[in-house]
Structures are given as structure tokens and as C-alpha cells.
Symmetry: C2
Subunit: 305 residues, 2 copies
Amino acid sequence: MSLLVVGSVALDSVETPFGKADEVIGGSANYFSASASHQGPVQLVGVVGSDYPVEKLEPLKARGVDFTGLEHAEGESFRWRGRYRHDLNSAETLETRLGVFSHFRPKLPEAFRDAEFVFLANIDPRLQLDVLRQVRQPKLVACDTMNFWIESRRADLLELLGKVDLITLNDGEARQLTEQANLVQAARWILDRGPRTVLIKKGEHGAFMFTRESVFFAPAYPLESVFDPTGAGDSFAGGFMGWLARTRDLSDANLRRAVVLGSAMGSFVVEGFSITRLLEISRTDIERRVADFHRLVTFDQALDT
Amino acid sequence: MSLLVVGSVALDSVETPFGKADEVIGGSANYFSASASHQGPVQLVGVVGSDYPVEKLEPLKARGVDFTGLEHAEGESFRWRGRYRHDLNSAETLETRLGVFSHFRPKLPEAFRDAEFVFLANIDPRLQLDVLRQVRQPKLVACDTMNFWIESRRADLLELLGKVDLITLNDGEARQLTEQANLVQAARWILDRGPRTVLIKKGEHGAFMFTRESVFFAPAYPLESVFDPTGAGDSFAGGFMGWLARTRDLSDANLRRAVVLGSAMGSFVVEGFSITRLLEISRTDIERRVADFHRLVTFDQALDT
């Protein structure tokens, strides 16, 4: 398999009702890679400043994440500081310092240009388009986005939609992008503009996968304690894309499995700060969680009495 | 089967982004009965004032709803007037006139006291307890409640919890009752106080069923157009209880089927004003919707490659 992610490599400082973490590994590309690395190798493209504690990335390297594409720039690394209140539903951003990330121009190492599976994490759609010009013949390209780009880079985002196979975005973003309050209509709006698959993430309320032919829904796992929700979406994407890259099977049945695997990875990452839990869990833990998901939704549809 | 519901018989005036309805059939007992009547006969206990257009209940009678327990009191009927905004997520109550409902004291006709399945819809917990004293040997008693009673009748509600087999409530109410932000912990709190089964309804985000042994989740069906959300919760309860009363099987597998049937009925009722859609649909429509639910969540858990 060859799986490429282009996104942020950051330092997060997070406060939740259960504790605090200072300057821990964060950023979409790190969460994605930590999650996807359970399925196979990952190629990462991102940027860090001269102050980034690169030794903290060693556990990811040991798991098969290739940092050849990590640019080391002069200046400060991307830092995010946020807080979650009691309900853990939404992050309150206290500070964002983009640092070297604000001048990030992704440059793919030659070896990465043959990636078959590509995840364009949440960065400027112009940069996402730029990455697409650098990859040769990907089997599947997925992108993420956010409210900021939907507002400020709408035309570029629409151009991108015409060039990707799949988009992941949360329900609020789907409504904002499409100006459709109804999620089914929002998904159709997006499907009409290019992607064959739309993944709408609803956080603690699960995720929908819409294709032209079918709808699939996976709940979020009902955890007894959510410790820190940061990175759930990127870990979801990592599990999803990692599974597809490993199996190279784009059938509806396998896409469904990928969504569940993504949900499982999302349910692990929120059990601890940063990528801690993703580094701890084993294949058996993942298989058990997938089986738990199966039990959670399984019913016998026979209505004969 | 014998299935009893005690609740409100009201007249609703509703405004949604898609239209208006004036003085249409509403109230928890009506929605519940219209839904449950697809599975078998229903005994209804409630009260109307002298102004209630009882002829509008004829279609329900024709479907096997027994109105022997409907008290006709002097005065005005219960009226609710509400509005839903664009997102349809929460009703804005414009006016509530309790009328004769404020003096409602449920009196079960002799024949109803042998009901095997009992649904205590959302009324004063003191009245719900009073109904329990009138039924002889029910096989399963379920109750619903709301924020108003959680605030004003907490002691009675806790007493009721010790006497019912099942409670349905929405996620906000579960958090309010238990003072637990986490739904798994909230469910456990309730299970520790009596009920063997807790159904937590999350509206458009689906429903959880918690027992001491298992957790089941059914999504809300992703409808392309939700017309009027009024009555979704009571129609859900009607489908759920109707199925149990019809099958008289309280196994985990059958409870799961009941939840899905409830979700199906909830997904139908919101497609029109009042109980209109529940009167239109056929057994085939219901079976198709249940099959749709099955397709929506089904995945093959095998992760071998």
C-alpha cells in the first residue's frame, strides 16, 4: 500500500475537565498518521519550525510513518491552545499561532508522487489543489475542510470538489457549504459536484457515508469517559483511509468496514491526550472495538411473529 | 395482546417552514395509539373537554384504538401551539392551554386493569403512580417524562423509577435527571434506580437502548424532508410498545427489533402533520422502512485481508 497525508504537524496545549496537556503532539497529519499506521505505512508531508521537538515523532517513525516529506523551516511551529468545557462537544480555541504553517507550500518527495491513496487534511484548498498536481495516478483522493475555507476559499474548494473522490466534513460544515439544512440534501449537493463518496461526521452522534447508491451510518461508540476530543476527526480519517489503502478494495461493503474502523480509531483517540492511546492500542484492541460496534447496531430485521 | 396508554389527547396548532396546521389531532396518547395500532389493539386513557372534535378520532377507532377510557369533562380541551424553525431540531412553544387536562385524574375502566403492556406517557409522575395502582399484573410498564417533571416532581419521579420496567426520555432529560453529562453514566444511574431498560432518544441523532447487559443504538432514518417533528417520540414509543405487546417476547433480540420498529414509526410520523402519515402507511411500508434501517447500519465485521 502507499498512503499519503498532507496536513499540519502542530503542538497542542489542551485543557479538559479531566486534565491539562502542554505542547503535546498535535495537528491533522500526526493524528491521521498515528491512526493509519495501524494498517500500514504512511507518508507524511507537512512543516515544522526550528523549535519543534522532533524526537517526539520517533514513536510514529517506529510505527512506519515516513517523515521524508516533513519540511524543517526557520521560525516557530504551528501551535494550538484550546479548552473543552464539561460537555466536551466543542473546542474553545484560546490561541492559534500558525508560525511556519502560514507559509507552508507542500512539496512531495519524488517517492511520494506515486501514492495510491491520498488524504488532503484540512489546509487551504489552493494547497490541496497544488498537492493534486504533484501526485501521478492516485487510486483514491480524499480531502477534509473546515468553515474557514468554506467562507474564504469557496471557489477553490468547489474546484477541488471536482477533483477528489471523497470528502470528509462535519455536519455543520456540510450545511454551511451547501446551504442545505437537511443532511441528505446536503450530501446530494456535494455528490453532484464531483466526489463519489461523502463522509459527514457528527462527532458524538456518529458519521454518515453517502454515495450515489447507498447510505451508511456508524454511531460514535458510547464511551463512559471521553478524555479529550481533539483529533477524533483526523483519527477517523486515518482509520478509514488506512483500511482502504491496506485492502485496496473500494466496494461498498469495504467502504462500510472502513467507516467502522475509522469510528473505532476515533473512539480510541479521545480516551487520552494527544496521540497517546493510538500508540498504546493493539490489533486485538481494534478488533474488539469493531466487534463492539457490530453488537451495538446489530438487529434481526425479521418482523414475522 | 393488551396494550394500555395513559396520556394527553390534545389539539395542536403547528407551524413549520413547510406549512401550517390548525387544531389538528395531537397529544402523546393519540400519537402513541396511531403508531401502536399498526401492531394490534390499543386501550387509551385520557381526557378531552366539551369542545373536542371527537369525530376526528374515528380513524383511530377504526384502527382498533379503544376510547372507552377517554373521559369527557366540562371545559376546554388541551391545546398546544408551536413553531419549528428552519433546522427543525426544537419546537418553540407559543402557547399551552392545559384546560381540562390540568385536573386529569386517570380512571381505568375495569377491562383495562388487566393490561399486560402499559405506557405511561408524559404526565405528572403522581398520576403515573396512580395508574400503576390501578393495573393488576402488567408484564411490562414503561414511562416517559420531561424536564418540567424532573424539576418539579423529582421525588415522585424517583419513586416511579423504582416501579417501572422501562423509561424513555431524551438525552437532555437524561442528563438533567441524573446530573451526568455522559450518556452511558446517565443510563447506568437510571438502571441503578429500578428500570431494567432505558431508552434515550436523541431526536434526529437516533436512540440508545441500555440494559444492564447490553447497549443498542438505532439511528434516526436520514429523511430527505422532515415535515413536522411533532409526535416523533410518542410514535417511537408506540411502535416499540406495540411490537412488544404483539410478540410478548422480552428478549434482548426482540427489544432491539422493537427499537427499530419504533424508529421506523418515528420516521414516518414526521413526514406529515399530526398523525396523517401514521394513518396512511401500510404493513409493507413499515417492513420496507425496517429493511432500509437494516441496510443503513449493516456492515461485515470481518477484518481479515
